[in-house]
Symmetry: C2
């Protein structure tokens, strides 16, 4: 077994015999919600402070129809929610704000940020994301509930002990 593979609990049946292999997989289900690259870009801009339609289209560098489609889908999926606002002399418009469900994608986006930085960019990127109070850069770190940083060779795939069947 390669050190990058996750150990499969020997009590599990062979993976070929698993039913509903994708329907039961949370990675597959997550990607059903995040089905396009532009969905990730709209969420990126929500984390970076965009709330208004024009900001999303311009900052994600996507067309207005694409921005409208993504904002609609992400709102329907519960990752963003609409809040009405009105500027003097204008009609009422909607702002789009991350819900708890959308905000919980931060570790995913940060992991993609750092992976791209390490493996796609050769000479470093212009931007960084840091811990405001101490100034150190942040990353999404594989950590267990006991607080250990877990290297890939020490991961085990098992039945969920919190689920009866």
């Amino acid at each position: 077994m390669s050190a990058s593979q996750i150990q499969m609990d020997p009590a599990l049946p062979p993976r070929e015999s698993w039913a509903d292999i994708n329907d039961d997989c949370p990675i597959f289900q997550s990607l059903g919600v995040l089905s396009t690259r532009s969905a990730f870009l709209v969420l990126r801009e929500a984390f970076y402070g965009a709330t208004r339609f024009d900001q999303f289209a311009q900052r994600a560098d996507i067309s207005e129809p694409v921005a409208a489609a993504r904002l609609k889908e992400l709102t329907e999926a519960g990752l963003l929610e609409k809040h009405p606002y009105r500027e003097p002399g204008q009609r009422t418009r909607n702002e789009y704000v991350l819900t708890d469900k959308g905000a919980d994608l931060l570790p995913t986006l940060l992991a993609l940020f750092r992976w791209g930085e390490r493996w796609v960019f050769g000479d470093g990127i212009r931007a960084d994301i840091a811990h405001a109070s101490c100034g150190a850069s942040v990353d999404a770190v594989v950590t267990c509930e006991h607080g250990h940083r877990v290297p890939p060779g020490e991961l085990r795939f098992r039945r969920n002990p919190a689920r009866a069947s």
Copy 2:
């Protein structure tokens, strides 16, 4: 500012004025490599122990042409590498093994796994990923280089201090 937004360093120019906003973004670049859901599924199965063509197609529940296309793309992008093997009486075939670049996507896949578990599945999933030596479940946790767990409201987007310009 909402607590889920990342603080933008006030020294930065307004985001609308940034040139090359996507070309300079490591999230955008990462998603260029991971352009399809089936690419994530093939990588998932590589982490779960698949090495052979038939295993990838069957365990990711994708067609053989899709499996062949994804394995070729992921190999060309340097996430998997081919190792020849030969079984008695058979022709030489290739196994596909995660490279360091591919293996470094583990935090991304784990973050998607936990997000899907928390937000897409109502009543818990069958599987879990744990720290083999202590038995506690793992997650991808936003952590700074000083070892602090960083809540979303304490993140700051800034210029990369390690890059001259």
